[in-house]
Symmetry: C2
Subunit: 414 residues, 2 copies
């Protein structure tokens, strides 16, 4: 069921990751895949670790997402001691039996790390509609427990991959009230590819001390500008999960409010880590050959700018034009116009990178097809759209739509 896809041409190398005091990780083998590969991630956190979570707003949801949301509501995110993630089965659309299977995994993991079940977070990624065989997970827990180290980030990132072609990690150093703190995270996802192997998952940890309510407020806001501002194919999963853990082991003072000025540098660096991970999802977009930044300005509101940017970034005609290295500004205008948001035709402008194609509702007089074609050969592209209706702007990141995307997703499941 694993696919031997070659590494994305847009891939980036796995970065050097810091040790985060209070965080241990291990990859393991639960056996959801036939071949020799990890498919289990166990993370253990020191007592007092706080947690914030953002989950799919998908109407169907899944057992592990339901579990996390329920426990975070119950505990307020004040204490999380472990997270267990499996690849190969999403445990989504599996009803009451799926919920029970998730609960058994949490209970077993809680026992293993010496915590209560509600202090264990869960995530699953893989086939929809197949009940999780929780015995596979629980049988693999002891070995994972024994393998925990504070340096296993890359193996951890590999264990949660499905159709990903490279492991995704990001890290940063920040300061809280002059105390250095560290941030590290991993993610997986390469387009929503259920029910084969689905889902965006991201797990980020820091040794800063942040009260759960403040952490939740930060993460929710940042998600809009990072994970919610990238798109591969517009589809989203029943299992999408972002969890951020703060162990408080750095010695930096605990921060209770999201708008505490001592948290400013941390907030900037955390957002950078989230954006880096989110962009890596696009870089691993199925079949992607171009990484494209879509910047919209002159919109009536940020929400309007975001909707226009998303409409452009998800338009099949825009994405196929990028695949064809075609500076097809007409398709950009078309997509911007069909977002059902205010635009002023006579003020619309479109640029590819540094090159204006159209300004104020007209093609530019010195339009050069040669210069445009040269620019479009780059693997990383930017398209800028000014819509002339106001002062708000938004940026989205997307990839192109290639024949390879269709080949990957048009294959039989079996």
């Amino acid at each position: 069921m694993t696919r031997n896809l070659s590494r994305s041409p847009l891939a980036v190398d796995f970065p050097a990751m810091p040790v985060i005091a209070g965080v241990e990780l291990a990859g393991g083998r639960a056996g959801f895949y036939a071949g020799e590969r990890d498919d289990l991630l166990l993370m253990r956190f020191s007592p007092g670790t706080t947690c914030a979570g953002v989950f799919t707003r998908h109407g169907v949801g899944s057992a592990p997402v339901d579990w996390c949301q329920k426990q975070l509501r119950a505990t307020g995110g004040r204490s999380v001691r472990a997270v267990v993630v499996n690849a190969g089965c999403a445990n989504s659309f599996t009803g009451h039996a799926g919920a029970k299977a998730a609960e058994r995994v949490a209970t077993a993991a809680a026992k293993a790390v010496g915590a209560r079940p509600r202090e264990v977070m869960l995530a699953s990624t893989g086939v929809i509609g197949v009940l999780l065989d929780d015995r596979k997970v629980t049988a693999a827990l002891p070995a994972a427990l024994a393998a925990l180290t504070d340096r296993s980030w890359e193996r951890a990132a590999g264990a949660i991959m499905t159709t990903d072609t490279f492991p995704k990690g990001a890290a940063a150093l920040a300061h809280v009230d002059s105390h250095p703190v560290r941030i590290a995270g991993i993610a997986k996802g390469s387009g929503m590819i259920a029910p084969n192997m689905a889902t965006m998952l991201a797990f980020v940890a820091t040794d800063a001390a942040v009260e759960p309510r403040a952490l939740q407020a930060l993460v929710r806001l940042m998600t809009l500008r990072t994970f919610n501002s990238v798109t591969v194919d517009g589809d989203r999963s029943t299992n999408d999960t972002l969890l951020v853990f703060a162990t408080g082991q750095s010695g930096a003072p605990p921060i209770a409010k999201a708008n505490d000025p001592r948290l400013a540098d941390f907030a900037i660096k955390l957002e950078a880590v989230l954006l880096d991970l989110a962009q890596q999802l696009v870089r691993d977009g199925e079949g992607a050959s171009k990484f494209v930044k879509v910047s919209v300005s002159g919109a009536k509101s940020e929400a309007s700018a975001a909707k226009i940017a998303r409409t452009i970034a998800e338009s099949p005609l825009v994405k196929t034009a990028f695949a064809g290295e075609d500076a097809n500004w007409g398709r950009i205008v078309m997509a911007a116009g069909r977002a059902d948001e205010p635009v002023r035709r006579e003020r619309m402008s479109v640029a590819f990178g540094p090159l204006w194609a159209a300004r104020d509702g007209h093609v530019v007089s010195d339009y050069s097809e040669t210069a445009m074609s040269d620019y479009m050969k780059n693997a990383e592209l930017e398209v800028r759209v000014e819509v002339g209706a106001g002062r708000a702007s938004w940026t989205m990141w997307t990839c192109d739509l290639t024949k390879q995307y269709v080949a990957i997703n048009g294959d039989y499941r079996s």
Copy 2:
């Protein structure tokens, strides 16, 4: 600039078309294409012909759409004497100069048919951002005028084609108060493919006598269930235009209100013609190999059902699964759930044609991959989704997403 695409495997033959008293048509050559092909359509209507129009809600619009909307507002659709359509140039995003070019075409056509400019409707399809060379159109008008006949429907349908691989026509016989009336229409479009060659255009004529306000009310409502319920790639054009003309030459009594019971049979038949034309657009979807009916039931409202159906019908993952003949019901669940509309997971059911894949939130116990695979080999497919949140339903028609779609749209413009 024309493409030699082979005829869609989902194509239907051009039907036998009736003569509509008061309607004459001619194809012509304005020379927007290098090769030998028609690219101009002239239709002439008898005095007293009423007209209803539905246009793109695209934020950018185009000069011919602006023209039609302005004149229909001015005249109330009480008298339209001609329509002039060109393929090869959309005259969109061309500012004041584009509006002037459109006006010159209308003025020349009005003179040719002995009418006022505001009695002339216009439509253009083709490259965005290129000013219409109206002299090409006006120079070709005399020959078109001389060629007018009441039987040129198929040539007319061919003249407005861009990337279409077959001409599209539909016709019906109806009765108004026991008087026979005829309905005939043509359309073009195969996915929104601007700025190469864009746009859905449809022109339908009847010899029934219907007051313009009643005709407008009927056509607006029917558009929701026909042209607005088909999708190829979710993109829409700056130039989309549907015009319906009623000559009143049948001898049937004139009808002033859309809800007049004498109009009931006519309304049913007109909607059938519009739906037939709309479905032919999907059958000619770029690269399409499957024609797919998406039926959603159990939604909270018709609007909710329509949004869920559209989300399924436009999901790249669903569409690539159809291309791969994969009965991938998990992707259907995923797409239904991400429409941000009420669904009840434990009551959701999915069927492919006669075969249930999931019922009430679970995969069916007698699920047969073999039976599913056999069904998916059909060129015409239906997927039914029950979402368990209410009693409303909606139907959309779409096609699959193939490598050929990417190839067609990823080519260079030049």
